[in-house]
């Protein structure tokens, strides 16, 4: 298994986001507490993104993988039960904030 360093992961995420036309400004690391939009995610996905039941856990997800999933939901390229109906509202900056935040949380508390 290939282990990436944080800087590499950030770069990979940047490369993927850039390749689908997202602005680089949205990829800047965010300091401070999560935004309200980020906090909305945990209402379904569990405290800190750690799900107890059938809802997918998003804590600790690979940042680039998560960004691609959200971009695909937004574009209607990925099917799901709910996310396709929500992701259409996400701006590039929202996706960046969401993926940066949850990718940095340990999967298990």
């Amino acid at each position: 298994m290939v282990a990436f360093q944080a800087s590499q992961i950030r770069y990979l995420a940047f490369a993927i986001l850039a390749s689908v036309g997202l602005s680089s400004a949205s990829c800047l690391a965010q300091d401070g507490p999560p935004t309200v939009t980020v906090e909305s995610c945990t209402t379904c996905h569990g405290p800190f993104g750690r799900s107890l039941g059938d809802m997918p856990t998003i804590a600790g997800m690979d940042e680039a993988e998560m960004a691609k999933a959200l971009i695909d939901f937004r574009a209607g390229l990925r099917t799901g039960t709910i996310m396709g109906r929500l992701a259409g509202a996400f701006t590039d900056a929202d996706i960046s904030a969401i993926t940066q935040y949850f990718s940095q949380i340990e999967e298990a508390g």
Partner: protein
């Protein structure tokens, strides 16, 4: 691998910066501000916990009416015999360790001028900003010649707890082949798809224990949330058991014979064995008395900050408020609680509030393995701050014969409930 943030660091960056568990503002000499939150449900608890996590320097007080909260979401599963009441009840014990100052007391009044909240115990809490999430009360005066006392015989079960069990037990005791009337009000009211989920889960129970019984929905409106999905599911799961009678076919309730379990409408009469009378509703009395609803029944608020349009420093969230296009749901209330906590903090710090995306998903169970949903994304517009549905987003589950999707949505409904109640009431 990169070092990942622990739980405390992840959501409590301010607390993490102190290098210690978050200090209780009340334990410190001088909190920078006092915020009092009224209401121990989805909105109030979300607001209190979010604010506590974001701002250790602010004193956060939470006033709850009872030491145990019974959730309205999933209370229909209790009525349908799928869960017991204890499984939808939560204490505030875990919140004690978060340094939220919890008062189990009834908030009696809000003095918006003096910035004080009066409690039944006689105590008075002063605030710099108040967040009110008091829920609803019933408008029995809008029904013909009956008062709140009829709820002992014709349960509303629209505030969960003893009423939930009363309705469940009346249905269990009903004769074979009996009739249950569900009488929902016109809009707006708490949990728009709730009455129809209830009809579904009662039908689930009846199909096993009383298969010749019938359910009549004598509705205060002509259309309801997720109607085509519900009706398709009823035809599939409970054929012939549930009949929806829209307002236009009965023209409203004319009189109710409580003893005979009989409803007379302007166009005809309906006899029943059990009547679930869900009255028209208003914001809870405490906010009406404080003048926060003006001459109406619900509180008008600013969609960016949730601040009342009539009282400075008072924010209203959840079912008591008209929040643009957002429905009155536990999910909405918790989302608003988080957003309101951020907004209150921004205002206290003289920062601009975030114009966030607020999300809502209302799951309904039609059977134990049959779920449907309606979702929405809302944002305050830059001119009026009204929280409006964003075009091209939201909507209901796909229609059609999709058994795997229905099963997945039932599982996600349970998953959502487990996750949100853990986030609000868990350690």
């Amino acid at each position: 691998m990169p070092r990942k943030l622990s739980r405390r660091q992840a959501f409590g960056l301010a607390g993490a910066a102190l290098g210690t568990p978050m200090l209780a503002a009340s334990a410190r000499a001088q909190p920078t501000a006092r915020v009092v939150v009224v209401g121990g449900g989805f909105g109030g608890v979300a607001a209190a916990r979010t604010l506590r996590r974001l701002a250790p320097d602010i004193a956060v007080t939470l006033v709850v009416e009872s030491p145990v909260f019974t959730t309205c979401p999933f209370s229909n599963t209790v009525i349908g015999g799928m869960r017991d009441l204890q499984s939808i009840q939560f204490s505030y014990d875990a919140l004690q360790s978060t340094a939220i100052d919890i008062h189990v007391d009834k908030a009696l009044g809000v003095e918006t001028g003096g910035k004080r909240i009066r409690l039944a115990s006689g105590e008075s809490l002063t605030y710099d900003r108040a967040i009110l999430s008091p829920g609803i009360d019933f408008r029995y005066d809008a029904l013909p010649d009956i008062g709140p006392e009829v709820a002992e015989q014709l349960p509303h079960a629209w505030k969960a707890g003893a009423q939930t069990l009363l309705l469940r037990d009346q249905i269990r005791a009903m004769r074979q082949g009996g009739t249950i009337i569900i009488a929902p009000p016109d809009n707006p009211f708490r949990c728009p798809p709730g009455p129809y989920e209830r009809a579904s889960l009662i039908a689930h129970y009846l199909s096993r224990h009383n298969p010749t019984a019938k359910i009549l929905i004598v509705d205060g409106k002509d259309k309801f949330s997720k109607q085509s999905l519900f009706q398709a599911a009823w035809d599939e799961l409970y054929p012939g058991m549930i009949t929806f009678i829209p307002f236009s076919e009965h023209a409203g309730l004319k009189s109710i014979d409580v003893g005979q379990r009989r409803i007379d409408t302007f166009f005809g009469s309906f006899d029943a064995d059990v009547i679930n009378l869900i009255p028209p509703q208003s914001a809870a009395k405490i906010v009406l008395d404080a003048g926060l609803a003006g001459t109406g029944y619900w509180c008008e608020i600013d969609g960016l900050t949730f601040e009342s349009k009539v009282a400075e420093g008072v924010h209203v969230i959840g079912d008591a408020a008209i929040v643009g296009d957002m429905p009155k749901s536990g999910f909405s209330a918790s989302t608003q609680g988080k957003a309101c906590a951020h907004a209150v903090l921004a205002l206290l710090r003289d920062n601009p509030p975030e114009r966030a995306l607020l999300m809502n998903t209302c799951y309904s169970l039609v059977g134990p393995d049959y779920g449907i949903s309606v979702a929405g994304v809302y944002q305050s517009d830059t001119e009026t701050n009204r929280l409006s549905s964003l075009p091209g987003t939201g909507g209901t589950s796909e229609a059609g014969n999709l058994p795997q999707l229905r099963q997945d949505e039932a599982a996600f409904a349970r998953g959502w409930y487990a996750n949100l109640t853990q986030e609000l009431f868990g350690a």
